[in-house]
Symmetry: C5
Subunit: 382 residues, 5 copies
């Protein structure tokens, strides 16, 4: 708990560190040292290696037509600055790579493309990790924060297996494949959120508790976070698609347009889920007010039946002295007094019950679970 809190605090305080100069690398002290992993390939062959020194990268760059340099962790400013120098990155771009709370965006430096996005994962909470892409004619740089696991294994396998068009295409196609992998990873996140909403919906109807509302609120927050990622990603992709001067060839741009369509679908789903989540709060309130109604009905039925009866019983518990006057509760001494009263009471109680019955108070307002088609919206939604 405190850990999570701590993380968030830091992420915001960054922006107010008094001595931050623009263009300065502000390395977070606890960050992992960068692990540099290189894949280089031509249509004939490929090589996969890990380097310690930035200087080792240059010969690989000269030898292979497509080089993918994957950097994980930003714990060492010197290495990053060396990388920036080797690949001629703008100081602000390098700064954005390290400041891991950027809004997704694309920046075009001539034909080079700098693309910042976020990977999303839904564990207990929604976890997002910044991934930056730096694409030139012959290489792709990817910068990851260093959370365990990435979504690039699929691409690695394809390079090794020489599957698909990867090995025969340029660095731009590689970059597209990586971006595609990041976007594809959002579908299972949405699927999980959809499942949670489905559970919460049946919970809201069958056993509404405050926990339901609290979890709906949490999901709303997660959807807001997702939206804050996918909307700017869409803008960024559009920026790249519009720009014809970049290294993305017309062919690859057709594929990127497909990425863009996927992103639009994610945007649609996020908005749909947000509306469904908003509906769940109404559902909870309706369900809760329904339950209150039921409780009140029980109370009212009991009170309405027993109050008149108790009054009658109390009445004949009064101590008016029948001896003092003929008018003083002669019923108490009459032969059929007690049975008559009991009969009268039964009549009253029966009449009450009948009147409640006629007014439908005993009719269940909650139909049997299996009749309700409450899972439709989610199935429709996907």
């Amino acid at each position: 708990m405190g850990d999570r809190k701590h993380r968030r605090r830091k992420s915001v305080q960054r922006a107010v560190t008094p001595n931050t100069l623009p263009g300065t690398l502000c390395i977070e002290s606890g960050a992992a040292p960068p692990a540099i992993r290189i894949m280089a390939y031509s249509s004939q062959d490929y090589v996969e290696t890990t380097v310690q020194e930035v200087a080792e990268i240059r010969p690989i760059l000269e030898q292979w037509p497509v080089v993918w340099v994957d950097i994980e962790g930003f714990g060492d400013g010197a290495t990053l600055r060396a990388l920036g120098a080797l690949f001629d990155m703008h100081a602000l771009a390098l700064e954005d790579v390290v400041h891991v709370h950027q809004r997704p965006k694309a920046e075009l430096y001539g034909e080079r493309v700098f693309f910042i996005t976020r990977m999303a994962q839904l564990r207990e909470e929604l976890e997002t990790e910044q991934v930056s892409f730096f694409l030139d004619r012959h290489f792709v740089l990817t910068f990851q924060q260093g959370a365990p696991g990435d979504s690039f294994d699929r691409v690695r396998r394809h390079i090794r297996a020489n599957a698909g068009m990867l090995r025969t295409s340029g660095a731009d196609y590689l970059c597209y494949s990586l971006i595609d992998a990041v976007i594809d990873q959002m579908f299972p996140v949405l699927e999980q959120l959809g499942d949670r909403l489905e559970e919460l919906e049946s919970e809201a109807l069958s056993r509404p508790s405050l926990d339901t509302v609290s979890r709906v609120h949490a999901i709303k927050g997660q959807l807001l976070s997702l939206r804050r990622i996918v909307w700017p990603m869409r803008e960024a992709l559009q920026t790249v698609l519009r720009d014809t001067a970049s290294v993305f060839t017309a062919d690859t741009r057709v594929y990127l347009r497909d990425c863009h369509d996927n992103l639009l679908q994610i945007v649609d789903l996020v908005e749909t889920y947000r509306e469904l989540a908003a509906g769940l709060t109404d559902l909870y309130l309706s369900s809760s007010s329904n339950r209150m109604n039921e409780v009140m009905k029980v109370l009212t039925i009991i009170a309405t039946i027993f109050m008149p009866l108790s009054f009658l019983a109390s009445l004949y518990g009064m101590n008016f002295d029948p001896d003092a006057s003929l008018w003083n509760m002669p019923e108490l001494r009459s032969h059929w007094g007690y049975p008559a009263l009991l009969a009268f009471m039964t009549l009253i109680a029966g009449g009450m019950v009948l009147s409640f019955w006629r007014n439908g108070w005993f009719r269940p307002t909650l139909p049997p679970m299996e009749n309700r088609d409450t899972r439709d919206p989610h199935d429709d939604a996907l």
Copy 2:
């Protein structure tokens, strides 16, 4: 239930199958093998046939001015690849055809048009099926998922009967007719949703139950799903209308503009129904709070009348010894004690009832059903 669930799951997992290469056909294992049905016609004649082998299509293509190839089911990747090769489709287009959870869209490859849309049907739930159109100068390809029944029978009958302008027009007019048929099929879906909303409205007012809210929620979800289909379809149609290089002639584009107007009307209706559905939740809450009020009034009337009476009865049930003191409940021995008390009680009860009457507590807050004009909005809406 489990089946539906299963379907949904699969539809999303598709996007994360680890080995999916872009441009690869990912055939769902349970999908039906493709049934290829061909209609070819000129203004003089027409032929209608079913082929097993893709190779059989080529002679038909060479012989007839307009050929419509209708493929249903995607169970066999080889056949689909052969079709793609025969008609020279882009790998991504073929992929989109098979991945049946696309967002409706139009793509223009030179003068060729690739159009993805969805047919909608309302059974228990809203069921949608992806339909893809691939249009060139002399042929139209339609790809259907293979759900039983389609909306193309109308077009087939017209071709056979040489009715309307179909037989004398080109493949673009055929494509328009098919798209028109898909759009027209949405009107009965909206009509049914309108009927359901109407029922739910009168239910919300006369016998509100949790089921009402649950069904309103389901309809909201279905409207959201419809909206997710019709908005992108509108964009796709606009793309086609704007592009003057496609095979759609100026004449056919006038008809397509009509399609677009119909789609706009559907968009308007969907938004109207969404607002009406949102209003229904308010209606339910009002109705429910109204009923609670009624219940509370009954309770309060009963309690207010019988509590003072019971207190009086209890009072005279006390055992203060009249012998011990003159002050100890002399009423109990007075001649008119009991009748006087009964009269007093009647007075109190009558006063209470009168005061409730004056405050309008007995006035019904629910007017007779036939006086209310609760069906207006729906009639107005269409």
Copy 3:
């Protein structure tokens, strides 16, 4: 009721009649046969006549500079087709005229203008009727569904009386005058809706019933319907205003711009009323929760006063035997027992009442009606 229902159903089923060919006239079987009414005028003279045969129109067209052909009812397809042929209308335009559930729109065929709009009338419900205009250099065609009464009488009187600029202007000015009449007719509809909202507001505050909410819901639906008319009408007018090739002269376009301003004002009013109607549901819920509060206060006051008193009374109604022990309810035999208890009870009841008084439970939460300025928003709104 059944009649209204019937109408709606039909209106939607139209779109799915299986054999409808685009460009085919689909005559509704119960529709009235067309009544053709002609007014033709020059600055010197005018003629007003009714024709049975379409052929009779041609000589009038040749003789007069401005001819207005007003067709009411679409019961006879042949006549309509003859009209279409005489005036050279596009098949789709004629189809749109007959399919009376079009979205308002303007279409420009060269310098000719085809304009579809709806007249609105508020009886019990909002009733709308489609009116189509077809304007060329020398004539205006108007097609009405044939509901009793139209808003064109004003224009007819002006032609007869040679009032205003009508007789000295061309067909485009006539067309403007007719469109203006249709738009002007919406103001009394809005006025009536405003009056109803005003009534409902005072009802929601003074005597909230479920009927109030139901009627607010109906008005919301009517405003949604109005919005679905006026927004596209505005777009259609803008289309006409932007197009400088049409027969509308620059002078008449100045007047059309005035129409457009009126339409904008209607749009503003509809949106304002929609927000006021949305506020009324909140008002009802507040008022209803207020009333519930009052009811609960009565119950709580009664219960809080009488429960302790009843308990005391019951206490001294216990039958502990004072003879068995000195400790057993000696009060019952004390001289001042009963008066002391009565005094104690009065003290308790008085204390309770005082405490409620101090907490403001007797203060009315509903101020006298005449002090509240609840009618402001409506007066402001217009």
Copy 4:
């Protein structure tokens, strides 16, 4: 009341007066006869006069470089038509001047500018008055409905005192100053609305009554009305700012841009207040539900304590005959029966109170007034 109602009705019926010809002056019968007030000035001198006849204006126009003709009241059609002829106004412009329910707008006739706007004043209700400006190179015409008081006195004083740049600038600067005066007058209106919202907020928290909600609803309506004025005014100003052919010089347009900024600020404030007002309804509902909770707690505490006690007392008020059996209520004759029961009752009551205490039912949910910082949003808002 009836008076206000009357006004509103008339204002709307105007649009449907059956014989209204476009371009016809429709003089409201009760309107005040026009009072024509003229200020004319050069940098050296100025003259201020009132004329009865329109003909008297012409010599002034010829003599002075800048002439301001201020017309108040439209009771005499002839005078207005004479003015229209003298200043060569379009018939529609003159019509708009007289029909005092126009949407604010700007129209450009060549270099002449016709500008319609509304002055707002908050008395009991929001009162708005239409003001029209007609600007040419050497004169400004202003038309006011004739409500007592205007916002132009500031400008008059400056002309008399030769203060600022007025006397040395042209008619366009005069027109700007007058528009600026109209816009500035909206700030105190907003300030008053802000004060009322502030009051209502503290009322909603401390003593929520139905009157609070009703007044919030009224303020919402007033804000809607204001919005319906300021949004089109902004559009109108933008129209003027964009058009470089009008008599507004580049210098004056810089000042007009400042007006536009003020209007943007008003728009922002109106939207902010609308959101705050929307929040107040929630506040009321929360406050009301809070109060209901308190009432229910009182009831429940009382009932929970006294019901078991009353039951025990009733129990020992039963008349089972101890003589008939040893098992029949031997407690009644035991030595310590009564005190033991009393002790037991005290124990139960104490236990209940303790359990309520532990559950926090006695904790006040309403903190002391002075600790709450409930006035923030308003202070922030300005």
Copy 5:
């Protein structure tokens, strides 16, 4: 309190001071006299000084390549006018500087840039202070209202330390650094608001009081105020970014684009927080209705158990005379009467409890605090 109120009032009344001429400096009487603080630097050296007379600035301007004049407080009109004259500022710009309630905006006078923005600080309430920038080729003027503390210390330290690119860049880079400092200062404000929302969320769930709602309302108001600052700031920055004629070099504009990205992130956060705050009201209402439900359950359980028991006890407290008839309550004299009744009562009570148990009335609807993941949305949000 009164102080705050006073401040607000004044800020609005400004706009209606009757004698305000456009272009006139309207000095607030209580404002601090201007303190003029100068930093001037070249890449080799820097000077930092405070001047009393405006005339002292001219030599510095002539001597140094970049001069930053920081004016705090507007108490002396003459000094400000002298500054305006020295730096050749437009009268309206100077007026905007002094009228401290401007909407953020950018104005371009040729290559000069005039930029108005606001600094935000969150103490008890949100406090904002207007800061104006006036940038030319060789100098930057900053005008601050004079609240204690500013966000420019970071920049001053960098100039002194010759850190970063400040000393080697031009005045435009200095201006960027200052604007960046103002924007960066908003992140801690948002962080604090996020913390408060987090607290309020857990409060709304665990101990909802009216104070929670009131504070949520206050935060909503603060977010509205922030939005009213950042949206126009974004527009203003875009104006500067679009204009290529200003003194901002292409290099500096790259940095400004970074500022713009930060502002976009702030806008996103403000909108996210606004939605979270909106959700909190729902959470409160749900939590409150939940608590009401719990209270009502307690009441209903107690009443349902004790009402029948009390009735039975009252029944056997009746005084029907067993001597008068065999039918008159023979139970009272039966041997096992009393124990049997007690057993029956126990049975009834047990049955009730069991039935409540089965219906889940004793199940807690509030889960233990530690299990709920209610803090997610906030962590996700940043």
